[in-house]
């Protein structure tokens, strides 16, 4: 039996924050591009050419990653895979631990998700609770043929039986560390940084 590390409720609510000034780079811009390219190839391979695929990014950076994956798939094989966004705030299991939060946009591409292969896209896979919330949100939006998960970084420490189908980079971390994914659209440059978590 594994021992669950002792963390306060606040840590569980939002465990990714940390001091970015003390973080070191584990993936630079060109490296991140190569990783996204590989994920796009894997997606095409595993889905047999990307037919019926709908990419749904989880805000904020998951949405940008979904758009990038769609752009790479289009560049490699000329397949236009729709990319949208899925806000999971209203489905979170930790709403009662923090002040009521603002919502992000949910934007499901044209034909909906019924009968489609939905690929959820997020920047970091950690406890798995975000993905659980996303699965609940999907169930209220329709009935996909199947759901897969793509993440840029898997940092471990799952608290639920959830795994990713496409992983950009596995980064073993301790709970005293924080992973920062930076994307040009939001942060001015592409990088993945690893630093100390906020005490």
């Amino acid at each position: 039996m594994t021992t669950v590390p002792d963390r306060s409720a606040q840590d569980r609510a939002r465990p990714v924050s940390g001091d970015i000034a003390q973080a070191r780079s584990v993936l630079d811009g060109p490296g991140l591009s190569r990783v996204v390219d590989r994920m796009a190839h894997e997606l095409l391979e595993k889905t047999g050419g990307g037919a019926d695929v709908v990419l749904l990014g989880i805000p904020t950076r998951g949405v940008t990653l979904a758009q990038r994956l769609a752009a790479r798939v289009l560049a490699f094989e000329g397949v236009a895979v729709p990319a949208g966004s899925l806000d999971i705030t209203l489905y979170r299991d930790d709403l009662q631990l923090k002040k009521a939060r603002a919502l992000e946009a949910t934007d499901v591409p044209g034909d909906g998700i019924d009968g489609k292969l939905v690929v959820l896209v997020d920047d970091v896979l950690f406890s798995g609770r975000t993905v659980r919330a996303a699965l609940d949100a999907l169930a209220d939006l329709g009935r996909p043929r199947a759901v897969q998960l793509a993440v840029l970084v898997d940092r471990g420490h799952r608290e639920l039986p959830i795994r990713a189908d496409y992983v950009g980079k596995n980064i073993p971390t301790s709970l005293r560390e924080a992973v920062h994914v930076q994307l040009t659209e939001h942060d001015g440059a592409d990088a993945v940084l690893l630093g100390p978590a906020r005490p």
Binding site: D87, L90, Y91, L95, Q96, L97, K98, K99, A100, R101, A102, L103, E104, A105, T106, D136, A139, D140, L141, G142
Partner: protein
């Protein structure tokens, strides 16, 4: 810490914008097959209505249910209120059953503020006497933004029974916060004393104001609150302050016509105008659910409220 929505004046620009943005996402839920969110599961909302209401009560009930809250509808008629129970005792009784929020409509101005001082849960003012109706102002603002793309800089004209209108007061306060210019048009007898201190212009001449307006909001003449005669006749009121087809023709192409309902067709608004393309009356009802979902979520959806005022 629990907070309340008692007055439109309690909302800062950030608060109001947060509610309108949240409502935009909530509105999408109404277009889905499963019109339900798990967000307020296990929370209890009491609809405490001491005054008749169709749309506000139904709207709040639907909003709470779409967020998976349990809803108790309490109507004063047929309750212990008719046996002489006070507002305070009624509220404490409901609280003793474990309620998280009370949505109150009462004919006394200030009843929600009193309630907020008594109970531990959040209080939402759903209309108190001739005082305020903040969620109506929010859904009106939402509708303006939806139709015209913005609120800041809009010229909004509110016409009719300003004296008895909680909708007018809440709209003036909220629209001031959101940066619109409000003009009130009414016969002098239907303007409240001290209206010159409101952040709005006042005019007695509808025809001169209409061509400059982006939004025209017509109010019902609340004859049930009138003990005396405030104008000579319905016909004369309608001729001077009613929005008929000829007056509507003076409006700019983009101008919208709003009405909080219930309306009296042929008195303050002609049927052709109420059912015309400019009219947002049905949109206002639709938007009411999304706006009230946003308010309930932001008040109850976290460990503490993201909006509203604190009442000691």
């Amino acid at each position: 810490m629990k907070r309340h929505l008692l007055s439109a004046a309690d909302l800062s620009l950030d608060d109001a914008t947060l509610i309108l943005d949240t409502a935009l996402e909530m509105a999408a839920v109404s277009d889905r097959t499963v019109k339900k969110l798990p967000t307020l599961r296990g929370r209890t909302v009491v609809n405490l209505f001491f005054e008749d209401s169709t749309r506000t009560k139904t709207s709040f009930e639907l909003a709470a249910k779409r967020l998976s809250a349990d809803v108790i509808n309490f109507a004063a008629k047929g309750s212990s209120v008719s046996k002489g129970e006070t507002l305070k005792d009624t509220a404490l009784t409901l609280e003793a059953m474990g309620t998280d929020a009370v949505v109150i409509r009462h004919s006394w101005s200030g009843a929600p503020v009193n309630l907020a001082r008594i109970i531990r849960g959040s209080v939402v003012n759903a209309g108190d006497g001739t005082h305020e109706h903040p969620t109506q102002a929010l859904l009106d603002a939402y509708t303006m933004r939806q139709r015209l793309g913005r609120i800041e800089g809009l010229k909004v004209t509110i016409v009719g029974d300003i004296l008895h209108s909680r909708v007018a007061r809440s709209n003036v306060l909220l629209l001031k916060t959101l940066g619109a210019d409000v003009t009130l048009v009414a016969p002098p007898t239907l303007l409240p004393t001290g209206v010159d201190a409101w952040p709005a212009e006042v005019s007695y001449d509808l025809d001169s104001v209409l061509p400059k307006s982006d939004v025209v909001m017509m109010l019902r003449v609340q004859r049930e609150r009138m003990g005396a005669a405030y104008f000579p006749s319905v016909r004369e009121y309608s001729r001077r302050y009613g929005l008929d087809v000829d007056r509507a023709a003076q409006l700019q192409d983009h101008t919208i016509v709003m009405h909080p309902g219930p309306m009296v067709r042929g008195m303050e608004i002609a049927s052709e105008v109420a059912d015309g393309l400019r009219s947002t009356i049905q949109d206002q009802v639709t938007n009411g659910v999304a706006v009230r979902m946003a308010v309930l979520y932001l008040l109850l959806g976290g460990s503490e409220s993201a909006i509203g005022s604190v009442e000691q």
